[in-house]
Symmetry: C2
Subunit: 337 residues, 2 copies
DNA sequence: ACCGATCAGGCAAGGGCTTTCCCGGCAGCG
DNA sequence: CGCTGCCGGGAAAGCCCTTGCCTGATCGGT
């Protein structure tokens, strides 16, 4: 690997001059020398060692993003927003997948810290377990204490700048609509119990329905298509009288739709199904999914903006609204079964 | 930010000793000192500066991945495979999105080179333009010349280790099946003209159908749902007699399905629709999409494996087979229209 | 009790780059 | 003609860490 010294030698100048030419320093360099340096750079295909640069100047330029799983459509969308802003601002992004493992999350925070990233963006539901949060908080605080910027998405239990999707409010909207349509026996396909996203959405739903949801009508599973399918099967077997199934994300809803089709249950005539997030596929399944739209890319974009802007005196918190999207999978409750 | 020197001072030892304790060096250190160092590390919340480490020891550990767009389901799936292997091998991954801009691709290669990554994995269709390829090749060669490892996915025009999806063969399978079912008027929803993936799949399709596809029955658009929808509309308007539409990826197929539904065209009774890739949603749309399955995650996993294994004497090339997945959106050609 | 071997720990040299500070040379001024 | 001031270029210090090599001490053997 060619070094700056190689370039300087080849151009017959000092490393100092070469560096100045390459970085466009404000210090003037004679045209002839400049050209010689540029020529040497091209010939040697020289690329500065980013680590040495970072060591030599305190300026931090890359930003770390910690998500549960980029290949999950939810995070894919959030990441798109994050990337857009980062690219606009000329920042490189390191994406890390925690796969919802709190321990790995802590490890990654340290790793990003070691990489001297300018900022860390944490995306994806927080955990309900206070022990886990405390550990992560402690690490983030250590990072922030040395000037690192932190922004979180959807983790209201962490300090630092935050952007929050209106999980609870969105679920409330949905609950109210279900109630208006006469649904009384509502089942819930929930994500992992440990996540605040799950508990927030359940709470909102209960509020909207006007009565807390009995634990018996909730099934916890993975936030995936298969998780939704399995949970729906269990739920239907346990409580055959349900008129509506609320999935706490669209993937699960798709799984439920699939199961119902397999069992020959008509949607929404016999059972209504609704989702959450409004992922791109929601409109393309049959029946088209009624769901709660969250501005996912916007969530990412805002968070990255917060992370890259200088810290304020106090934590900034932005809440982004949820919106009910009416499609075909939700109808009035059938009169009697 | 605490440094090793801070830790050493606090523990009352030399930086050398501190370093040895922290890195678990083979050189023995007395238990008492070891403990003092560990205590200082904890108190200062010390994390070694990864850049300084990288500078001090030549060992490269992170690997760079260059994709068109992680939030595209195709790449999301490929990335999942890449990540899996990288994590197993204890490697951090830097993901970069080129958004199909060849120029940005070259920039990112340099950037990854600057980051001293151990390997670069290039995923996603190559370009047909030889000029563009030459430029990229030159940069990759510069990287490889200094010991960097390169692996590409689906870019048969680049040297270096490669894993290739059987694009052409998969399309041939599909073409043959269409022919068997009596389809003679076949339209194609193609991705960008500049990509080899597009041209390979078109070539294979023609081969399978037994006759080259007339240019008039092809519409080029973005590899997206909306691209597919628009292209389908144009195609149908221009050639109303089509009995089958082949989308060159599943997103486009979903868009086509949507358009046909909006126009009241029955699938597959009046027009058959097939996709490519077998993305997770393919099974969930209505009618369920007949498509060509590519082992996407496997593609990623293999590529990462190649990239992390030491270079062989010659370039290794693995081809992964495509498989026709029969679902509901493809039926026999209607007798007469 | 002395010598050599063994061992733990520290010194210091890098690794590649940036940047401050200094120096030599030149022009301009008195 | 001599001095000052400016300007372009280079020497070198430092960023933080690892590690080969050296030193001082301890221990065993004789």
């Amino acid at each position: 690997m060619a070094t700056l010294a190689d370039v300087a030698r080849r151009a017959g100048v000092s490393p100092a001059t070469a560096s100045r030419v390459i970085n466009g320093s404000s210090k003037p360099v004679a045209d002839e020398l400049r050209e010689r340096v540029l020529k040497a750079v091209a010939e040697l295909r020289y690329v500065p060692n980013a680590h040495a640069q970072l060591l030599a100047r305190p300026q931090r330029s890359v930003v770390g993003v910690l998500v549960h799983d980029v290949s999950d459509p939810y995070f894919a969308e959030v990441t798109r927003g994050l990337q857009r802003v980062a690219t606009e601002r000329g920042r490189l992004v390191i994406i890390c997948n925690s796969y919802r493992d709190p321990e790995r999350e802590v490890e990654y925070v340290d790793l990003l810290r070691a990489q001297q990233v300018a900022a860390i963006v944490l995306a994806g539901s927080g955990y309900r377990d206070p022990t886990v949060n405390a550990l992560l908080d402690e690490r983030l605080a250590a990072y922030a204490a040395t000037g690192g910027r932190v922004a979180v998405i959807g983790r209201h239990r962490h300090r630092g700048d935050a952007v929050l999707p209106a999980n609870e409010e969105g679920a409330r909207l949905l609950g109210a609509e279900l109630r208006r349509l006469g649904h009384r026996a509502v089942g819930v396909l929930a994500g992992p119990r440990s996540l605040t996203t799950t508990s927030d959405r359940i709470a909102g739903l209960g509020a909207g329905l006007g009565e807390p949801l009995p634990e018996a009508s909730i099934r916890y599973a993975d936030f995936t298509r298969d998780g939704g399918s399995r949970a729906a099967a269990e739920l239907l077997d346990a409580a055959p009288g349900l008129t509506a199934i609320v999935a706490l994300n669209d993937s699960m809803a798709v799984g439920a739709l699939n199961l119902l089709r397999a069992r020959g249950v008509r949607v929404p005539a016999e059972v209504s199904v609704v989702g959450f997030d409004d992922m791109p596929i929601a409109a393309d399944v049959t029946p088209a999914l009624t769901t709660v739209r969250l501005p996912l890319a916007e969530l990412g974009a805002r968070a990255m903006t917060l992370a890259l802007d200088p810290a304020g005196d106090r934590d900034r918190v932005e809440t982004l609204p949820a919106e009910l999207v009416h499609r075909d999978s939700l109808g009035p409750a059938p009169a009697e079964r």
